[in-house]
Amino acid sequence: MVDVIKNTQMHCTYGCKTSKAVQPNVAGKLISKAKRPLFVVGSQILKDEELLKRAIEIAKKADIPVAATGHSMKGFVDADVDAKYINIHALATYLCDPNWTGLDGKGQYDTIITLGHYKYYINQVYSGLKNFSNLKTISIDRQYLQNATMSFGNITPEVLLEALDELIENL
């Protein structure tokens, strides 16, 4: 049979670069493998304790620094993680600047993992990173974010918790 459907790039009426859907186990492994990852956690995390718990667990188990955006810092004050407050639009600005040395002064990041943001907001932030940086970006939130490099699909809050648990297992 002639295969006529393998090349169906939506060339340019709606833009071509869209996120690859990723499963939690794969995401977990990718995070573990990243050389200089940054875990960007937004304020929505505070609306669900279970989610916050998992965010802290990811940061701890993968031993990655947390950029606490919005007022998510409140959730990390007494957690034993390397978290710093930063505005996410400012963060995205610095992430596109090869001269930025990171939150810890040790150099620019190569992988960004995000959780706990408004979908429309983080998708815009990703739009900038997608087009103006070489970062790998992984969304592990409950909405499909087409401007990330990789993203979970649209899932319920319950499934998200399960997915994060699986991700944590694979760290």
Binding site: C16, K17, Y85, Y121, S127
Partner: protein
């Protein structure tokens, strides 16, 4: 000396001399000649005249792009895929295209305001003539933005004609720059966007000055009356006449007709959007007892669909801007005739402007026509109230039913299959599915919770595969809540007066008033309308001056504090520390930038006419003001904000603001960018990294609180001022983020900058964590700060303003 004014004329015994003069001694020349002041370097600046200033700004504040789309579809070479900053067929890359997209939004907003101004001006000149004097209250600078930009000091309606000619020429030039090909540099599209933003404040100023002068609006009134607001304040038992839009011109005829015909008590006149605000300003410049608002405010754009769906309106009159595009079909379903009164919104309706009033009424009451286009305001004035009376009866007789019954509500809710399509479609991804789940069990509290957050856009309904009328479900579930939606809003007071500036200017420049927080913009709040109340309350308690306008001014009045009072009732409407000022509607935003210009003019004696760059430089370095457009949705918000950017006023947008595609964000770690000149000798001086942005977004109001405080820090703060600002910055960070800010020390120049109560503790941190040298005996900082404190320094970004060293 006798001066001829507008009108035909003949000159004494020279009657057979035909004098034909083509704009020789036009208003502008007249103004320029008469003015005592000298003219600044850029009266009526062209597109590139202030480009150097823009480039100075962009040198520190980087245009940051977050594209809405990776492609360009402007011309038929395209669509072009620009992802990864590729070039399209015309050679433009994604960065430049996005700058262009942003510019287009800005000029669209500017056009909306100045188009509105042009319409008002034509109308008022028709009514009152070109010589009608402008009067906006006690001031020597009637139109600060107009004067700063064009060099014109307008005194009459006719003078504003020339101002708008200038505005329209500039907008045409900017629109021309949108054309395919042409500009390749993002930074030059950015400069054009700045031009559009600046022009917008001119257009807004013209609009509001015209209506303040001609319609008896409060004129810098420091104690304007309170008006009712909220869906709950409309009496559904009376005939309801609802107006929607931004241009009050036609509505004044309605109000007059109702007064002349004793209908004011018989009809409930309510408004949505800025027309509503401006209705409450109409005829408010009389004595205190005459200051009774002529209408009620229902709310912002977010309430339009809900208000229509409630079935309450008997007639809807629309004018322009921020009006739902589906008003006609939505109204038609409920037999509500719609009258369109402006060429911006015609809904395909027949133009009945020249038809007989009775014929029109017959066609509308019979349902023969779903509405009418009426460009004759006198006719609108008569038809709208009469129609409301008639339709109220007819609609009652026909038993028009709007919201679902309890039973239908249950049926609707039961249809839900929890596919999440509605949530994905919802601009805020509200948990509709969860609310449906609870509602099935008889618990509608989640829908009540959603009601406040829902912007009433209706996208969920189009997504629902089960055709559930989700907006109706939300509204029906929240009936109890809605009935109690009754608040107070202070009628828009217009400009800040010169005496107020004279009193408060010094506090602002030295920093002893911690700052101005201007809350503007629309109703696209990320987390509901209460956010505004929380922000204002916090900042007012901290003695910031809070200025509001438009949607923000409305929504702020919907909440009451622990004493059961709205903030309007609690805080004075005066321009002073701890004052809460509603300047008015969307176009009144010009008074906010105007106030900043006036601070420079009155407090610092800066020349205003044609001197925009110097004023902007002054503002950036010395006036601790910050704008908040928390619910910004429209292109007008983009242009207002961009006008602030060019004037050096930082603005924070809610998270939806990221969809404007670009921000202006500096990098605090780029040390070399945080220098200015000292105008006394041209030497360079280090300054704090604040404001850290001219336009940015943030996630939550909790995040924003410390950002606001930090954004008010300026190089010109004296020690007392710096101490006050730092106190708020640190306290707000601790309160809302749970931690000290990690950069507070960067703003410290000497020990007296430190909050008194915490000085000891902070000095210790400076010593231990940052290695500063402290003389503990005298509690003095010996070394550490990179900035020096010198209150008589004159910080500027403009070398040309410096005296030779």
């Amino acid at each position: 000396m006798s001066e001829l004014t507008t009108g035909s004329f003949s000159i004494g015994d020279l009657e057979n001399v035909q004098i034909t003069i083509n704009n020789i001694v036009g208003a502008i020349d007249k103004q320029m000649e008469k003015s005592d002041e000298e003219m600044g370097p850029t009266p009526k600046p062209g597109v590139s005249s202030l480009r150097d200033w823009d480039h100075t700004i962009f040198e520190r504040y980087n245009p940051i792009y977050t594209p809405m789309c990776d492609q360009c579809c402007y011309c038929t070479f395209g669509p072009c895929d620009l992802s990864g900053n590729k070039e399209g067929a015309c050679g433009i890359n994604l960065e430049a295209h996005n700058a262009r997209e942003f510019m287009l939004r800005v000029m669209t907003g500017a056009a909306a305001h100045s188009g509105h101004g042009r319409h008002l001006l034509h109308h008022m000149i028709d009514l009152y003539g070109k010589d009608y004097p402008l009067d906006v209250g006690p001031t020597n600078i009637i139109a600060p933005n107009v004067q700063a930009v064009t060099g014109i000091k307008p005194e009459t309606l006719g003078d504003l004609d020339i101002v708008l000619n200038y505005v329209e020429e500039q907008l045409t030039q900017l629109l021309a720059a949108v054309h395919a090909g042409q500009e390749g540099a993002a930074i030059d599209f950015e400069s054009k966007a700045m031009h559009g933003g600046m022009i917008d404040h001119v257009g807004m100023e013209v609009s509001d000055i015209v209506q303040i002068s001609c319609l008896g609006f409060p004129k810098s009134d420091a104690n304007p009356p309170l008006a009712d607001i909220g869906m709950g304040c409309i009496d559904p038992s009376k005939p309801n006449l609802i107006v929607i839009g931004h241009n009050v011109a036609a509505v004044t005829d309605i109000i007059d007709y109702m007064e002349d015909n004793d209908l004011s008590d018989k009809i409930e006149l309510g408004g949505l959007c800025c027309t509503a605000l401006d209705m409450t300003r109409y005829k408010m410049d009389g004595s205190a007892e005459d200051q009774v608002p002529k209408a009620k405010i229902i709310g912002s754009l977010a309430k339009e669909l809900k208000m229509i769906r409630s079935g309450a309106p008997d007639v809807i009159v629309v004018d322009e801007q921020c009006i739902r595009a589906d008003v006609l079909p939505e109204a038609q379903k409920l037999m509500i005739p719609v009258i369109t009164t402006n060429d911006k919104v015609m809904y395909g309706l027949k133009d009945r402007s020249n038809d007989d009033v009775e014929d029109i009424l017959a066609d509308l009451t019979s349902g023969k026509e779903p509405g009418a286009l009426l460009l004759d305001f006198e006719k609108v004035g008569e038809i709208a109230p009469r129609l409301a009376m008639m339709m109220s009866e007819i609609r009652k007789q026909k038993g028009i039913k709007a919201l679902p019954t309890e039973e239908e509500l249950k049926d609707q809710v039961d249809k839900c299959v929890h596919c999440l399509a509605c949530e994905i479609a919802c601009p805020d991804n509200l948990p509709i599915s969860e609310a449906m789940k609870l509602a099935k069990e008889g618990d509608f509290t989640k829908f009540e919770w959603i009601h406040d957050k829902c912007i009433g856009c209706g996208r969920c309904e189009f997504a629902c595969p089960k055709d559930i009328d989700i907006v109706n479900v939300i509204e029906k579930s929240s009936q109890k809540l809605i009935r109690n939606e009754i608040g107070k809003v202070r009628a828009g007071r217009g400009p800040i007066s010169d005496p107020e500036i004279r009193e408060e200017g010094v506090n602002l420049v030295l920093g002893t008033t911690p700052g101005i927080v201007a809350m503007v913009g629309c109703s696209n709040y990320p987390d509901g309308t209460k956010d505004l109340f929380d922000i204002a309350k916090e900042m007012l308690q901290r003695n910031y001056i809070v200025v509001v306008s438009g949607c923000s001014a409305m929504d702020l009045g919907m909440y009451k504090d622990e004493d059961g009072l709205t903030l309007y009732e609690k805080y004075p409407a005066k321009f002073k520390s701890g004052g809460l000022i509603n300047v008015g509607s969307c176009v009144s935003n010009a008074h906010i930038t105007a106030a900043v210009i006036k601070v420079a003019a009155i407090f610092a004696q800066k020349q205003v006419s044609g001197n925009y760059e110097e004023l902007a430089d002054y503002s950036l370095n010395r006036v601790g003001a910050v704008g908040v457009a928390w619910g910004a949705y429209s292109q007008k918000a983009a242009s207002i904000g961009t006008g602030c950017s060019r004037l050096g006023i930082p603005v924070i947008l809610g998270p939806h603001g990221s969809k404007y595609r670009r921000a202006l964000i500096a990098k605090p770690y780029e040390d070399q960018k945080w220098n200015v000149y000292d105008a006394r000798d041209g030497s360079e001086m280090k300054i704090p990294a604040a404001p850290e942005f001219l336009l940015t977004t943030c996630e939550t109001i909790e995040e924003m609180m410390p950002m606001l405080a930090k954004s008010c820090i300026r190089p010109s703060d004296n020690n007392m001022g710096r101490m006050i600002k730092l106190t708020h910055y640190i306290e707000l960070s601790q309160k809302y983020l749970g931690v000290m800010p990690d950069d507070w020390q960067n703003y410290v120049r000497m020990e007296t900058d430190l909050p008194l109560a915490k000085r000891q503790e902070l000095l210790k941190i400076l010593e231990e964590e940052h290695g500063w040298e402290i003389d503990w005996k005298r509690k003095k900082i010996l070394s550490g700060p990179v900035m020096k404190s010198d209150v008589s320094a004159q910080p500027t970004n403009l070398k040309r303003l410096c005296k030779e060293a």
